[in-house]
C-alpha cells in the first residue's frame, strides 16, 4: 500500500491516496447537492401551492362547476374532461407507441428500401419530440376536428350516428313543443294545424296553429299547444352516449387524439430504450429454442421490457394531463357546467381552468388556481400510482 502510494506520488498529479479519496468524497457531495437542488425546487413549489390552496380547499371544490364567485368555484367539469381526454389519449398512444417501438427495435428490415423507410421514421420521431405542443394543437384542429375540410365545415357533421333532432318551439302557453326533424340540416317544418309534436313529458300532441295577429284561445290546454304561424324554432339534438360523427369536431375525441400526437414521441422513445436494454442472450435463447421472431417478442422481449415501457407511459400521461396549449387551440373552453357525456362532447381540462384562474385579477382566484393545481397533482399521482403498481407486479429478475 505504501509502495503503491509512493509510485502514484511520483506519477500522478494527485499527491496521495488520501487526497484522492478526499476529492472523491467532495465529488459525491457535489453530486448530492445538485440532486437536492431539483428536490428543493419542487418542495418550494409544492409548499407555495399548498400554502395558497389548502386553506380554502374542500370537497365542494371538486364537486362543483366553475363560478364567477371565487368561493363557489369548482373544478368538476374540467376534472372529468381531463379524465376523458387523457383516457382517450392513453387508449390510442400506448398501443400505437409500443407497436412502433417494437417495429423499430425488433423487426429491423434487411432490404435497402425498407431500411431507408426505417431510418426515416426514426429520424422523424426524434425530431417530433422537440416540437412545441401548440403546433400539435394546430395539427389536431386541421387533421381531426376539420378532417382537412374534405367533409365540409368543422361544425357540421357529414356523417353521424346516435343523434336525434327536434325543432324546439315555445307555445303561446309557454309550453315546450318538440317537432321531430330528420337531420341537423333539415328544413324547418311548415307550421299548420295538425302537426304532431312532443311535449316535454314525452307525449304526442297535435299543434294548433293560428295567424300572426289572431286572438289567443282562452283555454289553457289549447293555449299550451298553440303556435303562431310566424313562431321561431331552434334546432336541438339529443345525443346518446355512443354518439359519433365525422369530421370529429372540437370534442373529447379530438382533444385525446391531439394529446396522443404530443405524447407519442415520448412513449416511442422510452419503449425503444427499454427494449434495447433487454439482453440479446434472452432473444437468442428464445430463437434457439425454435421460436419465431414474433413469439420471441411476445413471450420474452416484451415482458422483460414492460417496466421500462410503464415508466415511459407515466411520463407521457403526466405530460398529457398537464398540457394546456393544444387544448386551448382545440376548444379553449374555460366555462362549462357539465361533464362530457359522449366522445364528441364539449369539454374543458384542468390546466386550462388553472390558467384561466391564474390570469384573473382577483387574488381570491389565485388561491382557487392553487386548489386546482392540488387536484391536478392528486389525479396525476393516482395515475402514476397505478402505473407503478403494474410495473412492480411485472418486474422479473432477468437471470
Amino acid at each position: 500500500m505504501s509502495q503503491n502510494s509512493e509510485v502514484t506520488n511520483a506519477k500522478s498529479p494527485h499527491r496521495s491516496l488520501h487526497g484522492r479519496h478526499r476529492l472523491d468524497r467532495w465529488f459525491v457531495r457535489f453530486c448530492q447537492a445538485t440532486a437536492m437542488v431539483s428536490v428543493i425546487m419542487l418542495a418550494i413549489m409544492l409548499t407555495a401551492v399548498f400554502y395558497q390552496g389548502l386553506p380554502g380547499f374542500s370537497w365542494r371544490f371538486v364537486s362543483s362547476a366553475p363560478s364567477a364567485t371565487p368561493s363557489e368555484a369548482g373544478i368538476r367539469p374540467a376534472l372529468f374532461g381531463s379524465m376523458w381526454v387523457c383516457g382517450v389519449c392513453a387508449l390510442f398512444a400506448l398501443p400505437i407507441g409500443v407497436s412502433t417501438a417494437i417495429f423499430l427495435e425488433e423487426f429491423k428490415p434487411r432490404r435497402r428500401v425498407m431500411r431507408w423507410f426505417h431510418s426515416f421514421i426514426q429520424l422523424n420521431i426524434s425530431n417530433l419530440a422537440g416540437v412545441p405542443s401548440v403546433v400539435y394543437g394546430i395539427i389536431g384542429l386541421t387533421a381531426f376536428a376539420g378532417m382537412f375540410g374534405i367533409m365540409g365545415q368543422t361544425n357540421e357533421a357529414a356523417f353521424e350516428v346516435g343523434a336525434t333532432y327536434f325543432d324546439q318551439f315555445v307555445s303561446e302557453g309557454d309550453r315546450i313543443l318538440l317537432v321531430p326533424a330528420d337531420a341537423a340540416g333539415a328544413p324547418e317544418p311548415i307550421l299548420k294545424s295538425g302537426l304532431v309534436a312532443l311535449t316535454s313529458s314525452g307525449e304526442s300532441v297535435q299543434v294548433n296553429v293560428i295567424g300572426a295577429k289572431s286572438r289567443l284561445p282562452k283555454q289553457a290546454d289549447v293555449r299550451a299547444v298553440t303556435l303562431r304561424e310566424d313562431a321561431e324554432a331552434g334546432r336541438i339534438s339529443k345525443k346518446t352516449w355512443y354518439y359519433f360523427r365525422l369530421p370529429l369536431g372540437r370534442g373529447v375525441l379530438t382533444g385525446g387524439l391531439t394529446l396522443m400526437l404530443v405524447v407519442l414521441p415520448i412513449v416511442i422513445i422510452a419503449s425503444q430504450e427499454s427494449l434495447r436494454a433487454v439482453p440479446n442472450s434472452l432473444r437468442e435463447g428464445s430463437l434457439g429454442m425454435g421460436a419465431t421472431q414474433w413469439q420471441t417478442v411476445q413471450n420474452v422481449t416484451l415482458p422483460s421490457a414492460i417496466p421500462g415501457i410503464m415508466t415511459g407511459a407515466i411520463l407521457a400521461m403526466s405530460r398529457a394531463i398537464g398540457e394546456a396549449a393544444p387544448v386551448l387551440i382545440i376548444c379553449g373552453i374555460v366555462y362549462i357546467g357539465s361533464n362530457p357525456s359522449n366522445l364528441m362532447d364539449d369539454f374543458s381540462v384542468m390546466p386550462l381552468q388553472i390558467f384561466n384562474w391564474a390570469a384573473r385579477p382577483q387574488a381570491e382566484f389565485h388561491s382557487v388556481a392553487a386548489q386546482g393545481i392540488i387536484v391536478l397533482l392528486s389525479l396525476l399521482l393516482s395515475f402514476n400510482a397505478v402505473a407503478v403498481l403494474i410495473r412492480n407486479r411485472t418486474q422479473k429478475t432477468l437471470s
Binding site: I176, A233, L328, I336, G337, D346, A359, Q362, S382
Partner: protein, 369 residues
C-alpha cells in the same frame, strides 16, 4: 357507470385508473352526474297554467376575448342555475379567433374587447352571417405607475406619446418633463395582439399608424398579473392594462390621472368616472356580437334576455364597470328589434371612433345585410 362503457375494452392501466378515480369520487359523494332529463313527476298531471320556459333545452356557444370572458362566464353560471337543460360554454380564443369562428357560423355569440374590424365585417358579409352588436360593459384602461413614484400625478396624451412611442423614445422621466427626476423609464405592456394593446395604441396613442409606432423595448407579457408585479417592483416603471387589474391591486400600484384632450381635465380611473364617460379617452366598451340566426332559438333568446337584463350587475361582479342605464336601453332596443350591423364603421367601411353614447344609436348603424 355509463361513462365507462366505451372504455370497457380499454387497457388495464386506464380501466384501473378510472375505477380508482371513481371509487375516490364515489367516496366523497360526487359521482358522475348525468344531465337529468326534464320530466314532470309521474302520476301528477302537468299544470297547464305554469310556464315551462325554464325547461328549454339546447346549447349556447360563446367564444372570443379573454377580457370579456369573465362577464360571459358569470352570465352563463347564473343562467344555468335557472335553466338547467341549457348548456352554455365560454371559450377564450381571443377577439380575432372568436370572430373567425363567428364568421364560420360555429358559435352563437362572439365576445369582443374591440369593435369589429372592416376585414371581419366583410368576411361576415361574404359568408352571409348577420349579427347584432351589443355593448355590455366598460373597461377603463388604467395607466399605472409604481407606488414610490411621487413625481408623476397626471399625464397628457402628448406625454404618453413621448413615453410609449419609438418617435418620442424618452429613456428617463426627465426627458418627458424637465421638472421630473432623472429616473429610467421601464415600460410594461400587455401582449401585442391583445385588444388592450390595440386600443391603447390604435385608438389613442398611435392613431396615425404611418408615423407613430409603439416602442420595441417594452417588457411584454400576455399575463396582466405579471405586469402588475413588474410595475410594483420598479420605481421608474409605467404600464397599462384593464381597470379590473388596477382595482384588484390598489395596494401595490397607483393609477395616473389622464388629461382629457377635449376638456383639459385630469381624471383618474374610478368606477364612477369610467361609467360617466369622464375618464376619457381611455374608457373602452366591451361587446358581445350575436348571430341573428341563433337569436331565433328559444335557448339563445332566453340567455340573451337574461344577460342583457343583468349585464351591469354581472360586469360589476367581475370588477368591470356597468354602462349608463340610457345606453342599456338602446342595447335592449337593438336586441328586441334585431337591429343588425355595426356602429363602428362608416358606409365606406372606415373605422369610426368616439364615445359610446355618441356612436351607439339606433340610427347610426351600418347594416350587414
Amino acid at each position: 357507470m355509463k361513462l365507462l362503457e366505451p372504455f370497457r375494452s380499454g387497457t388495464a392501466v386506464f380501466g384501473e385508473t378510472v375505477a380508482v378515480c371513481f371509487v375516490c369520487l364515489a367516496l366523497i359523494g360526487c359521482g358522475p352526474t348525468a344531465t337529468t332529463p326534464s320530466s314532470t313527476p309521474s302520476g301528477t298531471a302537468p299544470d297547464l297554467g305554469a310556464s315551462e320556459l325554464t325547461e328549454i333545452e339546447g346549447a349556447v356557444a360563446i367564444d372570443g376575448s379573454s377580457t370579456v370572458a369573465p362577464i360571459s362566464e358569470a352570465a352563463a353560471e347564473a343562467f344555468g342555475k335557472t335553466f338547467k337543460n341549457v348548456r352554455v360554454t365560454v371559450a377564450i380564443s381571443g377577439t380575432g379567433g372568436g370572430f373567425g369562428r363567428f364568421t364560420n357560423g360555429e358559435i352563437d355569440i362572439s365576445d369582443a374587447s374591440r369593435p369589429i374590424k372592416d376585414s371581419e365585417f366583410k368576411a361576415c358579409q361574404a359568408k352571409g352571417v348577420s349579427f347584432v352588436e351589443l355593448p355590455i360593459a366598460y373597461d377603463g384602461l388604467s395607466i399605472v405607475i409604481n407606488k414610490d413614484n411621487d413625481f408623476v400625478d397626471q399625464l397628457t396624451i402628448d406625454e404618453l406619446k413621448k413615453i410609449f412611442l419609438r418617435e418620442g423614445g424618452a429613456k428617463s422621466w426627465k426627458e418627458v418633463n424637465p421638472a421630473w427626476p432623472d429616473v429610467a423609464i421601464k415600460i410594461y405592456a400587455p401582449g401585442t395582439d391583445s385588444g388592450t394593446f390595440d386600443y391603447f395604441f390604435g385608438d389613442v396613442v398611435a392613431k396615425d399608424s404611418d408615423n407613430e409606432h409603439p416602442r420595441d423595448d417594452m417588457s411584454v407579457s400576455e399575463d396582466d398579473n405579471v405586469l402588475v408585479t413588474g410595475i410594483a417592483g420598479e420605481k421608474g416603471a409605467i404600464g397599462f392594462f384593464g381597470a379590473s387589474y388596477y382595482f384588484a391591486n390598489v395596494d401595490k400600484i397607483k393609477a395616473v390621472k389622464i388629461v382629457d384632450p377635449k376638456t383639459g381635465e385630469a381624471v383618474g380611473p374610478t368606477p364612477e368616472t369610467i361609467e360617466s364617460g369622464q375618464y376619457a379617452p381611455f374608457s373602452r366598451p366591451l361587446f358581445i356580437y350575436v348571430n341573428t340566426d341563433s337569436m331565433k332559438r328559444p335557448e339563445v333568446k332566453a340567455f340573451l334576455k337574461f344577460y342583457l337584463k343583468e349585464a351591469g350587475k354581472l360586469a360589476e361582479m367581475v370588477d368591470y364597470v356597468a354602462l349608463p342605464p340610457s345606453i342599456y336601453e338602446v342595447v335592449q332596443t337593438h336586441y328586441e328589434e334585431r337591429i343588425t350591423g355595426t356602429h363602428y364603421l362608416t358606409e365606406a367601411l372606415e373605422k369610426r371612433t368616439g364615445p359610446l353614447a355618441e356612436l351607439y344609436t339606433t340610427e347610426s348603424v351600418v347594416d350587414i345585410e
